[in-house]
C-alpha cells in the first residue's frame, strides 16, 4: 500500500503516452481527410463512427484513461506551489505552463466531447465563428504543448534520458514535435473552417 501514490503517478504518466498520446496522432490523421475535401472527411467520419466495437474502444482507450489522467492531474496541479516570478528559468516556466494547459484542457475537452460526440454539432459550421475558431486554436495548441512537454518529462520520469546531453536532445525533439504538430493542427482547423 505504501507504493500506491508511486503507482498512481506512474500510471498517470504512462497512460498519457499510451494510449492518449498515440490517440492524438490517430485523431489528427483522421482529421487530415479534410485535406482531400469535405466529401472525404464525411466518409472518414462515417467510417469511424461505424467502426466495429467503436464504443468499447472509445471507453477503454480514450474515456477511462483521459478521465483518470484529468482527475489525478488536477490533484497534481493542486500540489504545486508555483514560483515562476521568483525563479525565471525556462524549465520552471514549462512546469507552470504544463499545469496551466492542464486546466485549459479539462475545460476544452469537456466542451469538445460534449458538442461533437454527444450533441452532434457540426464543427465546420462552428468554426465559422471567429470566437470559436480562436478558442479551438487555443485548446488544440494547449493539447499539443501539454503532450510534447509531457513527452519530454515522461522520458525523465521513466529514466529514459538521464544526462544533460540526452535531456537536451530530447528537449529539442519535443520542441520540434510541438512546432510540426501545431502547424498540422492549424492547417486542419483552417481547412475545416474554409470547407
Amino acid at each position: 500500500m505504501s507504493k500506491f501514490s508511486f503507482f498512481l503517478r506512474r500510471f498517470h504518466s504512462l497512460i498519457a503516452v499510451v494510449p492518449l498520446g498515440l490517440f492524438i496522432f490517430v485523431h489528427f490523421m483522421l482529421n487530415s481527410a479534410i485535406f482531400l475535401g469535405s466529401d472525404a472527411y464525411v466518409t472518414m467520419m462515417g467510417f469511424m463512427r461505424g467502426f466495429p466495437f467503436v464504443q468499447v474502444l472509445e471507453l477503454l482507450l480514450i474515456a477511462i484513461p483521459i478521465i483518470f489522467h484529468g482527475i489525478y492531474g488536477i490533484y497534481i496541479v493542486y500540489l504545486a506551489k508555483n514560483n515562476v516570478l521568483q525563479y525565471k528559468y525556462y524549465r520552471n516556466f514549462a512546469f507552470y505552463l504544463q499545469r496551466i494547459t492542464a486546466i485549459i484542457l479539462v475545460a476544452f475537452i469537456i466542451w469538445h466531447v460534449y458538442t461533437l460526440r454527444f450533441a452532434d454539432a457540426n464543427l465546420a459550421v462552428m468554426l465559422h465563428s471567429p470566437l470559436i475558431f480562436v478558442l479551438y486554436v487555443i485548446g488544440v495548441l494547449a493539447a499539443i504543448y501539454h503532450f510534447t512537454n509531457g513527452l519530454f518529462t515522461f522520458c525523465i520520469t521513466w529514466g529514459i534520458c538521464v544526462g544533460d546531453r540526452a535531456q537536451k536532445i530530447f528537449a529539442i525533439c519535443a520542441t520540434l514535435l510541438f512546432i510540426v504538430m501545431s502547424l498540422w493542427a492549424v492547417a486542419i482547423l483552417l481547412s475545416l473552417a474554409l470547407a
Binding site: L79, K81, Y89, F95, G159, Q167
Partner: protein
Amino acid sequence: MVDLKSVKYIKLRIKRRDDPKSPSYWQDFQIPYRPNMNIVSVLMEIRKNPVTADGQTVNPVVWECNCLEEVCGACSMLINGVPRQACAALTDKLIEKYGDRPIQLEPLTKFPVIRDLMVDRSKMFDNLKRVHAWVQVDGSWAIGRGPRLADKDQRIAYEIAHCMTCGCCLEACPNYNSKSDFVGPNAIAQVRMFNLHAIGRMQAEERLDALVAKGGIQDCGNSQNCKRVCPKHINLTAHIAAMNRQANAYVIKNFLDK
C-alpha cells in the same frame, strides 16, 4: 554597472521575526561602505551597532553561520530573492549586479522560522533518515572494507558528496511545500550516492523502498529549479532521472519476482 567608488553605504532590508509565532516585519539598515565584505560580515557589523537606517536602536539580527566557506549550509537565506549562502554572497558583487538599492535578506520560506534569518532545517535531516542516507556498518561482526569503487562511480559519488544539506534546492522546488511530504531533490541524490557505495549498496533496496513510498521520487514534477539554484552545482536533475530509472526497475522487478 555601479561604480563602487561612489557607494557610501551598504544598505540592507531585512525581514525580521521576533519568535516563531509572531508576525514578520521589515527593517532597513545601512553601514558605511567597505570593500570586500560579505553578507555575514555585514550582519556582524549590524550586531556591533544594531541601529536601523532611521536611527532606532533594535535587537541585533539573529542568523546562523558556521564554516564561512560555503561548505556547511548554515547561513542559507534568501538574498535578493535567491536562496544562497550569506558567507559566499559578496556585497561588492551584489551591488555591481543589483545596483545601489538595499540588499534584501529573508529567511528561507520552506522551513519554520525560529527568529529573524534563523530557520529550523531539521526536516532535511529527517528526510535523510527516511531514505537511509548512511552506510550501515554497525552490526554484530565486522563486514570488512568492501570492494574498491570504480573510477566512473567515484566521479558520480564525488559530485553528490558536495551536498551540504543547505536547503536551497528545496526552497526553489515548487513541489516541496506544506501540501506534500516530498522527500526533496537532495535526498534523492543521496540515495544514488549511497547505492553506489560498495558497502552502502547492501541497503539499496531499503533506500529504494523509501523512494517509492508516499512523498517519494514520484512527487518530482521536473521544474528543474533544484539544479539551477544548487550552490554546489550538483546536477540534481540527472541524479533524479537516474533514480527514476532505478526506482522503476526496482518496482517492476519486485512485482515480477514475488
